[in-house]
Symmetry: C2
Subunit: 355 residues, 2 copies
């Protein structure tokens, strides 16, 4: 790994005052190039623009995949990342589905560790804040021809993630637009899935909702996931979530929350959840909580669900009653190095680059 | 429109000897920026790399759309483009679906005309060859946050399009993977649709096919379109093609071929075509021709169709018998300024920029 340190750091404490997610980048980025069937040596260098032809294939045919992770700091200034092998694995699954080259662990995992180590002062300490890590790969071959690219850039970017103002969200259950097809790319973290979701989301926003809960594209009968979150539904005291499939992203937060729920004695069921079942439960008062799980917001509670034209308001639960609140706290306490980590999820970033 | 001409042209006649599509770019490109809710003045300038942050949103969330058109030259050195308003219209439909700003005619259409005029020596004269025109728009805002970008680049690139070696293609009918969902973005010319198709296409290639004919994502019972072509099926003397929908690109070639077919007295039917119907017709000897229609290859004949594990070989037809051959010739003769153009499809590129 080549390391070219920035001449003078751009860091100052006011960075942590920002309320904007993913706009304030750290001093460095990692770049590796794929060409002639192989990856070159990755280079960590000052964050900044790159020179690209407008004929770069990702601008045309959308071959682009990414991951989202976070680095956390505890009171002792120790820096942690969370289950990075999960993101590494998923990244390469996305790569295969998008017909892109896999990225070796020495570039992805060692790269993440090295750059977080180097930019560790950019990891904030306040509970709820973190440094967001964005591995991304995009096609760069200079060609306007609808086929897979032969050249790629893999890159890791780091940007400040403020604590979200934890306002509950309202979500509309998709009844016309779809995110993913059977046999499609829904389970890959590829750019096209997100691009496709923005217009339906803006339509839902016009109807007074913050986000969309996607449903199957066949009949819109079963819920799948939300924009950047897997969805959990609590009916009575049972916590339900849809099984992952080729249409649903296999979320790291989902997996972690499910483990924590089971180990907290919560009755968990992984099975298809129909919109009708949710609606019936709402009518009978059994729909206690619906929440999203994802790296960006950890757990996000929904306070209103749009079933067609009907807006179902969910009464807020106390912290003691709410599965969402309890599970979120358990997960964050592990991530921030506050609680024990019996699962071995936390990975400490050793100080080597700066030493 | 700002025009910054190249100091010294890179053109030489050997450009036209290339056998590669979309790799040899002309002297100039057009660039326009969208920011703060409006487009700046487009600029035609020497083709070359641009400076972009790796945090440009298109690399992450895949907001990117494009068009494909061609410029043709006749014996009198006159340069034509073909039905550009169709591409302009489709581009802006794609923009809406991808939640991107529409591009005004003064940038898209006037831009295409101005740059083709300026680079007219790059338009080859040989029948079958052309200058491929690639309008493209991609998200450039510097942010890793899953939402629509607030900044975009619109760009027009020009690259040599050689005459394809007109080998018939073999196609596999999709029975597992899908290209588009109901309620999805199939009818938009957005990057993600292509990126999603490369892996299934490479799998079909392992099975000995060149391309895939996509089917509905629900049951794979009805054919939709091919990689970069709409599909026409001739059963007996009837020419069938699937209706366009939110899942199928509304091809300009498809539309033109249908008009030519009708005016040639061919019995045309636009309706869903089931895989079963095609297979039955194959068994009974009534499946005469299957071909793709698209700007790149105009009309491409398929000589083998993969129905599941069965490879159905289609006997070649003579030029007189083949609808594909006849319709292709009619269309090309209009495009290349050889035949009359009763439809008003051809648009002559006036010499103004160089004058
Ligand atoms: C579509 C989608 N679903 C679910 C998730 C949740 O996944 P994770 O918990 O790994 O962040 C994300 C992303 O972060 C996502 O983009
Ligand atoms: C998916 C797809 N279908 C069909 C077509 C044919 O469209 P057109 O005839 O406008 O080129 C294309 C593109 O060129 C395409 O990319």
């Amino acid at each position: 790994m080549i390391i070219e340190k920035i001449a003078e750091s751009n860091f100052n404490d006011s960075v942590f005052d920002s309320k904007v997610f993913g706009k304030n980048f750290s001093d460095h980025m990692l770049i590796a190039h794929y060409k002639d069937g192989k990856w070159d040596e990755p280079k960590i260098m000052p964050y900044g623009p790159i020179s690209v032809t407008p004929a770069a294939m990702s601008f045309h045919y959308g071959q682009t995949i990414f991951e989202g992770m976070k680095a956390y700091k505890n009171e002792d200034e120790e820096v942690f990342i969370f289950r990075p092998e999960k993101n590494f694995e998923r990244f390469n699954k996305s790569a295969v589905r998008l017909n892109m080259p896999e990225v070796p662990a020495e570039i992805f995992l060692d790269g993440v560790k090295a750059i977080v180590d180097l930019d560790r002062q950019w990891v904030p300490k306040d509970y709820g804040t973190s440094l967001y890590l964005r591995p991304v790969m995009f096609a760069t071959e200079e060609a306007v021809s609808a086929r897979s690219s032969n050249e790629y850039i893999f890159c890791i970017l780091l940007a400040f993630a403020p604590s979200y103002y934890e306002k509950p969200l309202s979500v509309k259950i998709a009844d016309f637009y779809s995110r993913a097809a059977q046999g499609g790319v829904g389970s890959a973290k590829c750019g096209g899935n997100y691009a496709a979701s923005f217009f339906p989301t803006s339509e839902a926003q016009k109807d007074g909702y913050d986000q969309v809960i996607w449903t199957d594209s066949i009949e819109h009968k079963f819920i799948e996931e939300a924009g950047t979150m897997n969805v959990m539904v609590r009916i009575g005291n049972k916590l339900l979530t849809a099984p992952t499939s080729e249409r649903i992203l296999n979320g790291v937060t989902r997996d972690s929350v499910l483990a924590l729920a089971k180990d907290s004695g919560i009755d968990v069921e992984i099975r298809p959840i129909s919109v009708e079942e949710m609606y019936e439960a709402y009518k009978s008062g059994e729909l206690k909580e619906v929440f999203g799980c994802g790296t960006a917001v950890v757990v996000s509670t929904y306070n209103a669900i749009g079933f067609g034209d009907e807006r179902a308001e969910l009464a807020p639960l106390s912290d003691e009653e709410s599965f969402a609140t309890q599970l979120k706290k358990k997960l964050k306490d592990i991530q921030y190095g506050i609680a024990e980590d019996p699962y071995g999820w936390r990975v400490k970033i050793e100080e080597t680059v700066n030493a």
